[in-house]
Amino acid sequence: MKAVVTVIGKDMVGILAKVADQCSKTNVNIIEVTQSVLQDLFAMIMLVDISGMNCPFTQLADQMAYIGKEMGLQIHVMHEDIFNSMHRI
């Protein structure tokens, strides 16, 4: 099972570290990261493996959203199925 973490907002020090730290705490394995900084806008898409996750999905989503709120960013965690079903036949 995989999920997609997206982070969008103003660039600052430690975004990747905080998100990665949360992943490690919940035993979520990071598979791939793409990030870009356009002027000041930071956009990161992270594919993670949640098969070994040690908490319910909703808790992970809530914690990431909380980190986002603290740093003034938008962080979403979404199950990969939504992208697969929307964009693949």
């Binding site: 997609v4 997206t6 969008i8 598979i31 791939e32 793409t34 956009a43 898409i45 594919l47 999905f57 909703t58 989503a61 809530d62 938008q74 979403h76 965690v77 979404m78 199950h79 990969e80 199925d81 939504i82 992208f83 697969n84 079903s85 929307m86 964009h87």
Partner: protein, 451 residues
């Protein structure tokens, strides 16, 4: 890996273009709750709904989190209560109170099925239920009511049409102190679908399984944004763009529906691939039509643009889902659509134009405020016209009019929330009283004889 452009597209649709699942509606059959004793019957209804729907809201919220897609409403539809009222006798309002109570306890925001199917005539319980609708909708907050007065196969029951004119007026009068909200919870149908997840017309048809999950998607904002990216292409290409967008929206509905069905252990019914607007900015069906090139919704070209939209939504959606049902098409409610509200205000949209639009959209005259002094016969006349369009064209049509008691053309009603707000629209004052008073039955048209 999933293409990052696709990921960002999905997130933009949800964040900026108001893409959401409009409703997960659990259909529950109450046929096994029928009892000759009214109190016992109500108790069985209360128990069964409580048992079937206890996890509905919680499951909806979990799915919302898992996929990051808002699910705006969790609702319940039940077997038309007239069938239970026919078995138990007594005052049907007792059922309405039961439905209201249990729907609040399980946490859903509407429960539909205070309904009667009388397209060919009245059976036991039907007349009593119809007469009780104003009282039921006045006393309850979440109960929605619908009456099917015609079908292509059976024709139009004009006695029922006559009754419904009065019932709609009474609903508004009894709730005049609450923006006439009673009438906003009542729909009169021709060719009512049995698996419609959208309120106020949802009920669980007698041909449906015991318990089922139906999903209604939304997304006018997404379609508008997609059309806006191609301002100068010919209309066949516009249709293609809408088809592709509708496909994506419906796939999401299919995913959420099947996941809800799996988690709740209830069979998955249908995806209703309707474009359901809300009064929020950027969530309007009228704005899609305007994006196609109309100055204002309701002007010349509107019916053609709507026909294109309605058809393209179906073509895109139908491949995306294993079972499509309900109303499936473009809704054109007035008070629930920012673009329609503006069009009604500026005078480009009239009741007559809306009637023409209903011949090519998915439902009918929806959420239209009419002057408070409109007579019951005139309301019945409007219902009959709308039912005739549905009957002849083999499609669902519906009427949800709200007589604004004490108000006249240009003044506003405001229901708040998804039901929205809007101006009172002008209604023709030429009387159909004699025609309506005749009663009887309009025979089924020739196209009903398909066997």
């Amino acid at each position: 890996m999933i293409n990052s452009r696709d990921i960002l597209e999905t997130i933009t649709m949800i964040q900026d273009e108001n893409l959401d699942i409009r409703t997960i509606t659990m259909g529950i059959s109450l046929l096994d709750c029928a009892d000759s004793d009214l109190t016992r019957s109500c108790q069985k209804v209360y128990d069964k709904i409580g048992r079937c729907a206890k996890d509905l809201v919680k499951t909806g919220e979990e799915i919302e989190k898992q996929y990051g897609i808002p699910i705006i409403n969790k609702r319940i539809s039940v077997t038309p209560i007239a069938m239970l009222a026919g078995a138990s006798g007594g005052d049907p309002v007792a059922y309405a109170r039961t439905l209201d109570k249990i729907s609040k306890e399980v946490g859903v925001n509407f429960i539909g099925g205070y309904s009667a199917l009388v397209h060919k005539g009245f059976s036991a319980g039907d007349e009593a239920l119809i007469r009780s609708i104003p009282q039921a909708l006045c006393e309850t907050d979440q109960v929605c009511s619908s009456v099917n007065i015609g079908t292509t196969k059976a024709g139009i029951n004009m006695d029922a049409v006559r009754m419904m004119g009065k019932v709609i007026k009474q609903c508004a009068e009894l709730t005049a102190d609450r923006q006439c909200i009673g009438a906003a919870k009542l729909v009169v149908f021709c060719n009512a679908p049995e698996d419609n997840p959208f309120m106020a017309g949802a009920f669980h048809g007698p041909g449906e399984p015991d318990c089922v999950i139906n999903v209604g998607v939304s997304g006018p904002g997404v379609v508008r944004a997609a059309v806006a990216k191609h301002p100068d292409v010919p209309l066949n290409e516009v249709a293609d763009i809408i088809k592709k967008t509708a496909f994506k929206i419906t796939r999401m509905g299919q995913l959420v529906g099947s996941e809800a069905s799996r988690r709740l252990g209830v069979p998955f019914g249908i995806v209703d691939l309707s474009l359901a607007p809300t009064p929020a900015i950027g969530d309007s069906v009228a704005h899609i039509l305007e994006e196609m090139g109309l100055e204002s919704c309701g002007g010349p070209g509107t019916t053609a643009a709507l026909a294109l939209l309605n058809d393209a939504v179906k073509k895109g959606g139908v491949m995306a889902s294993s079972t499509v049902g309900g109303l499936s098409g473009a809704f054109i409610p007035v008070s629930e659509d920012a673009g329609m509200i503006d069009a009604a205000r500026c005078g480009s949209l009239s009741l007559e134009k809306l009637e023409a639009m209903t011949a090519v959209c998915s439902v009918g005259l929806d959420m239209i405020m009419i002057p408070g002094d409109t007579t019951p016969e005139t309301i019945s006349g409007i219902i009959a016209d709308e039912a005739a369009i549905g009957m002849v064209n083999y499609k669902t049509t519906a009427v949800r009019l709200i007589p604004a008691i004490g108000k006249t053309v240009g003044e506003d009603l405001n229901f708040g929330g998804l039901l929205g707000y809007g101006p009172v629209m002008k209604v023709s004052t030429f009387s159909p009283a004699k025609f309506i008073a005749r009663g009887g039955h309009i025979p089924a048209p020739l196209q009903s004889l398909k066997n």
